[in-house]
Symmetry: C2
Subunit: 221 residues, 2 copies
């Protein structure tokens, strides 16, 4: 087990005997799951650390007909749900189900606090993992939010093209008015327009817009 | 200062003399900033903890014309950029600028590690703050992602209405085909359709869709 743990992001940088020592003095469980067994239910408070030692598990959700659908696979030696342990709202958002026979190291919150306090390296690894998750999801959100604005702008420009019966038309609104109309901030709107200009989808000249690549504009919808 | 710190999420639950003791043995800076002074630049590696003791600062970004625009205000005694300290990519995404005269407690990463190791309560408070940020941004992303799909669906349904010249029409694609076409997962798509049905915007009957509230559908665009 300690060999696998050495390869995990959580225990990286530790020698095998260090890992042995740390686990010897930390209360932990190793649980085995059969294929298709549910490990954690969506909505459950998840105040424990899970580290997959062997096998593969998946996150899945229920659709409106009660059918389950996979959203993510997790493979050994990854941790999962680790950023929920200390959140006020620690309810996880998916069911976690074993894909294959799975062996999981489980450490409860209080024991986990004891462990990270006793070992600098593990504390830093853990802080790195949850901070990286935060940065990743923040960047994803920014990109998603930008795509949403691009889609609204594309729709708007195509309507103006039709109304003016021309690829070149004037905007009758300021960026601020447009941003208010779309329910987004002005800087976000301006960044989206700039991105379209850089991508040669449109060109701008003061309040005039010209559609340069209608195909790409349609793809943004 | 210790009175203000007691009110912060980071030092909550500690007595004033405990806070004094902790800070006495932790290397830290207290810096004062004039109104409009830049505290941290977007793109800077942010491997330190900032806790606002007095005043107010803002996060701001540059738009395409080089103009700066506010995105968020932070007031004493809040921390900021705290979830970036331990991330691999610790570059912050905004400029941080003083709104008023501001007094800030700054603790560098290595000293910060020492501090959270020495005090259970502060460690747990810190883990709570960054985990809460993660959960918040994850939920925001889910909601944003859902709105994006609703917008695509609304657009698609309005086009079908026009093509069929009727509020009632058949879908010629399965949910899976539609999801592939929109570049989203099937469960996400199905959830969006269910939400529209619950909101009485559309009704579904097998592969038939009826638009019940076109005004609301247009608002989703």
């Amino acid at each position: 087990m300690h060999k696998i743990l050495q390869k995990s992001n959580l225990f990286k940088g530790l020698r095998q005997n260090e890992i042995e020592k740390v686990l010897a003095k930390t209360h932990h469980q190793i649980k085995e799951y059969e294929p298709e067994q549910v490990i954690a239910y969506s909505g459950c408070k998840c105040e424990r650390l899970y580290l997959l030692l062997e096998g593969s598990v998946r996150g899945e959700i229920l659709d409106e007909n009660g059918k389950t659908l996979k959203v993510e696979d997790i493979n050994a030696p990854d941790t999962f749900a680790e950023a929920f342990i200390f959140a006020e709202n620690s309810e996880i958002l998916v069911n976690v189900v074993a894909n294959s026979r799975a062996k999981i190291l489980i450490i409860f919150k209080d024991d986990w606090i004891g462990l990270i306090k006793s070992n600098d390296k593990i504390l830093e690894n853990y802080l790195g993992i949850i901070s990286n998750r935060f940065v990743l999801v923040t960047r994803k959100m920014k990109s998603l939010s930008m795509k949403k604005i691009e889609s609204k702008l594309a729709n708007y420009f195509l309507r103006l093209k039709k109304a003016n019966n021309s690829n070149r038309f004037k905007l009758n609104s300021t960026h601020q008015q447009l941003a208010d109309y779309f329910g987004v901030t002005r800087p976000s709107l301006s960044r989206s327009i700039s991105k379209m200009v850089r991508g040669k989808i449109i060109s701008t000249n003061k309040k005039e817009i010209e559609i340069l690549n209608e195909k790409k504009l349609l793809q943004l919808l």
